[in-house]
Subunit: 211 residues, 2 copies
Amino acid sequence: QDLFAKNQRYAQSNRQNFEDRGIFVLNLMSSPGSGKTTLLVRTVEVLSGSGSVAVIEGDQQTDRDAKRIAATGVPVHQINTGRGCHLDAHGVGHAYEHLAPADHSVLFIENVGNLVCPSGFDLGEARRVVILSVTEGEDKPLKYPDMFRVADVMVLNKIDLLSHVEFDVDACCTYARAINPSLAILMVSATRGAGMADWLEWLAVEQAQWV
Amino acid sequence: QDLFAKNQRYAQSNRQNFEDRGIFVLNLMSSPGSGKTTLLVRTVEVLSGSGSVAVIEGDQQTDRDAKRIAATGVPVHQINTGRGCHLDAHGVGHAYEHLAPADHSVLFIENVGNLVCPSGFDLGEARRVVILSVTEGEDKPLKYPDMFRVADVMVLNKIDLLSHVEFDVDACCTYARAINPSLAILMVSATRGAGMADWLEWLAVEQAQWV
Ligand SMILES: Nc1nc2c(ncn2[C@@H]2O[C@H](COP(=O)(O)OP(=O)(O)OP(=O)(O)O)[C@@H](O)[C@H]2O)c(=O)[nH]1
Ligand SMILES: Nc1nc2c(ncn2[C@@H]2O[C@H](COP(=O)(O)OP(=O)(O)OP(=O)(O)O)[C@@H](O)[C@H]2O)c(=O)[nH]1
Ligand SMILES: [Mg+2]
Ligand SMILES: [Mg+2]
């Protein structure tokens, strides 16, 4: 339990830093391969036009995701966790120092692909996003509840595949709201662009409320 | 590190028990929603005709997967890990006592959906199976290498969706073999049945070699 308490102290110090400088921070979490990076690439391509945005990438190994973000021109810092199964506030604090994002910018953190452990580690973020791809099955909110309980929004991704899988959207939303009644729910296809307007609007509204 | 050493002692004791009684045990691991339960249901339906088979299910919450297995008539025991992100040998030992599978039977363990943590916890199993669905992207063996390094076989699942996603099968296999040169690779559709003969053959050959 010491681990959580220590992390919490770093998280609070991160949050203080972010708030002092008006940096709106989001923590993106999901299973491996749900589409975090694909959604991020498309998002930062839009946001970088109208303001400052930066990304912290978290992975066990490689900088493959960071390279995908860097290709958009947006500043990115890769954290490799080795055997670690989640990002922690201490690592994020260092990455933030490296990146030194501009005041009043948006900072996305892509966590390690894991629907369990990251839910327990506050990074100092303002909002938590859980991405669930429709190929994973509608039962995930019930089977992996912690992640859905701590999230502010669930992004149902890969909706372009709905006609090819047996995914019950209504059931999934019911399950998710049973776990977290205040969860916002968005439907997106990160590869095709469906739902991007709703997602970008949610980001703008949340940032305006947070400021 | 104490955690691993303690787990290792339980794992060895499990392994001794399994070997004394000729029970061939497999640990199935994957990201959430890759198709572990779908593959298991189809597998036990075939195997239960010709011999004894049992299943241990691991999930944070619910007994939904155990119910899907129970519907086939095969004995199953559900472990709920709560906040835990992986099964451990101690829990599996207790589940095994509950189930009391027959001598010379096959015991499948479906681990918690997580491509990181379960790779570090030996349960006493004879073989480790990693399931990767083609909807997750071909880069997973490089980005989550521990799991692919400890596995005996990688089952590429959901191949019925290959024409709808940008998944490079050759690249994935190259990446997986770079991490683990002796990894067997099978291609399956757990919902459609493609590749099931290869998977059932791999099981039979491995069990015969292990006995
Ligand atoms: N059909 C479809 N495929 C998608 C969509 N979004 C992502 N993908 C595919 O899903 C796979 C994984 O996408 P990524 O964006 O790398 O997923 P991720 O969550 O960042 O993965 P990790 O960081 O490795 O955990 C890739 O093959 C993408 O092309 C989508 O909306 N529709
Ligand atoms: N198209 C397609 N869908 C599949 C296949 N195998 C599983 N699915 C679907 O994938 C979703 C998840 O399948 P499960 O078998 O529950 O996956 P799991 O790995 O057991 O999930 P957890 O135990 O919750 O981690 C369900 O909607 C299945 O119908 C397949 O071969 N092809
Ligand atoms: Mg990614
Ligand atoms: Mg399952």
